[in-house]
Symmetry: C2
Subunit: 339 residues, 2 copies
């Protein structure tokens, strides 16, 4: 660890997640000696505040990574595919929030609370899982370790911020359109999102699942290092701005009571149990927004199957689901003397 | 059947569902010789349009049912508990949309596409299932009949209209509050519903499930006349006005392909398959609002279990989920010469 801090670059700094990566670096007092903000030429002229100073956004080019020790990428798969290897060759450790490298066998896919050691075997690039995967594995790992998990059936309620800033604007504009009796204008989504929902996140694949649904299957298997765990996902966009919610049914190898699950989760890093039904106590997206924890509630026996459990898991999709997880991976590397 | 029509009463006529019952009676040209609109004393002075004339709302009292042949109730469980037997004793057939009588062994629980014959054995009162149950059993019955269903795991996305008019107003008011930077005011729901969601519909029970979740379990068993079918539900309120959506995973007794399921559902009454992924073709609440069909899409193999299937089911919760189903029960009785 450099006592004076690291030379850090954020790629895609003007996007919803990139922006938040800068904020999270500041909030968590990550040791930064110099922060470089990179984005496309369109963003030249913009600045972002960091520890009281305004930093100008620079254009992302092949030479951008000279001297950079840590590069946090959140600029889409195409940019990551091209520039992450360039940054790594220039000597930076890349933590990539896109889909570009997640399933590459040479790239660790890391959630610090779940598989921290995987991060240590990187060859320049470490991938952040998809937002909906991260909060699910944080909530399930303590149960997986204690009693095993055979099967997961999950249905998600995903916020528009996962799509980016323009989707947030689309929801807000459509809500006003509807409230004022106008036709809602669609630009980003295939259907109106205001006062509506749709089971369509990412393109659909041959097997009838969406890309987002298969991310939850494949990434969970990689993070758990368990190719056999059986998973079925249905991912749905709802008119919420921040915070993904997940209705999760699991079948464990060994029986476990809701009380024991609450105890396991209470003791787990990054998890907060909110499960007080008599006071309407369960996580909701609004209470998760702005926090870094994964919130779990509605923990109950699913009596429809042997060793069944049902629960409700909520997290801020662009914090723990993206920016915070990336910064936590960097913190993990620092604490292990690998940055 | 009386050729000149029946003397019909709608109890709770000024509520969201009662109002729609009147509209659906008109739309479907149900033969009505006299329509009596009943509500609490608060609603005296209100009128509702029916086939071009304005009908005054009358106060619901014990004598309200003299001469009434058909009474459609949607005024809450307490009113139904008290007044449905009074109406039945006065000679009316009661079709009740509340929770009061659904699980009474002497009261048939009827969805005309699913168990029409059950309606014939009534002793004065017939119950309408809960909205979230109705659309699920309409979508699943053709599959159940063809290949059997062992287990259902369902997660719902429920519209605020299911709670009533004041909840619709609460959502609209909260949306404006949030858009204008004010604190959202809560009156009906335990949490803000604008830009939020919560897994809490009806009170919570000892087993950790909500009343709404257990309705889906118990009512489905009763409608299917199958006490052994295994069901786990998670019911969630989302900021949508009309249209409940359901993410459903089932395990069938015998294997069945998505193509065969589409064929079964296309041939089934009251179901419309919308499943054209290349054109973002799947049901959404906005496309279900105002229709009487149950819409089914995203039909795919769930590869995480033997004979697994996943699908997405959407219907207008106050039409097929309430008012339309009640009127269809009356139509069924008429067509069988039982009214």
């Amino acid at each position: 660890m450099e006592l004076n801090g690291l030379k850090v670059a954020v790629v895609g700094a003007t996007g919803a997640v990139g922006n938040l990566m800068v904020k999270v670096l500041e909030e968590r007092a990550f040791p930064v000696s110099r922060l470089t903000l990179l984005a496309s030429a369109r963003s030249i002229g913009k600045t972002l505040g960091f520890h009281g100073s305004e930093i100008a956004v620079e254009e992302l080019v092949e030479d951008s990574f000279e001297g950079i020790q840590l590069a946090l990428f959140s600029a889409g798969g195409g940019i990551s595919k091209k520039f992450a290897p360039i940054a790594a060759r220039a000597g930076a450790v890349v933590i990539d929030n896109s889909n570009a490298w997640r399933m590459d066998p040479k790239v660790p896919l890391v959630v610090p609370e779940v598989n921290p050691d995987a991060a240590l075997s990187h060859s320049g690039i470490i991938a952040n899982p998809n937002c909906s995967t991260i909060q699910m594995v944080v909530a399930l790992k303590p149960i997986y370790d204690a009693v095993g998990i055979r099967r997961i059936v999950v249905t998600t309620f995903q916020a528009v911020s996962g799509t980016g800033k323009r989707a947030i604007e689309e929801l807000r504009a459509q809500v006003l359109d509807v409230m004022q009796g106008r036709e809602a204008v669609r630009q980003i989504y295939p259907h109106q999102i205001a006062f509506n929902c749709f089971p369509h996140i990412g393109p659909f694949l041959e097997n009838g699942f969406s890309e987002e649904e298969m991310k939850m299957v494949n990434e969970t298997r990689k993070v758990f290092e368990d190719a056999k765990i059986r998973i079925c996902a249905t991912t749905v966009r709802i008119p919420v701005i921040y915070g993904h919610s997940e209705s999760i049914n699991i079948e464990t190898e060994k029986p476990v009571s809701p009380e024991e699950v609450r105890r396991l989760l209470d003791a787990a890093p990054g998890v907060r149990v909110i499960d007080d039904l008599s006071n309407a106590g369960y996580p909701v997206p609004l209470s998760a927004a702005g926090t870094d924890d994964t919130l779990v509630g509605r923990i109950r026996i699913d009596p429809s199957v042997e060793n069944g459990l049902a629960m409700w898991v909520v997290a801020d999709n662009i914090r723990k689901g993206a920016a915070t997880n990336a910064v936590q991976i960097a913190e993990l590397l620092l604490s292990r003397g690998r940055l």
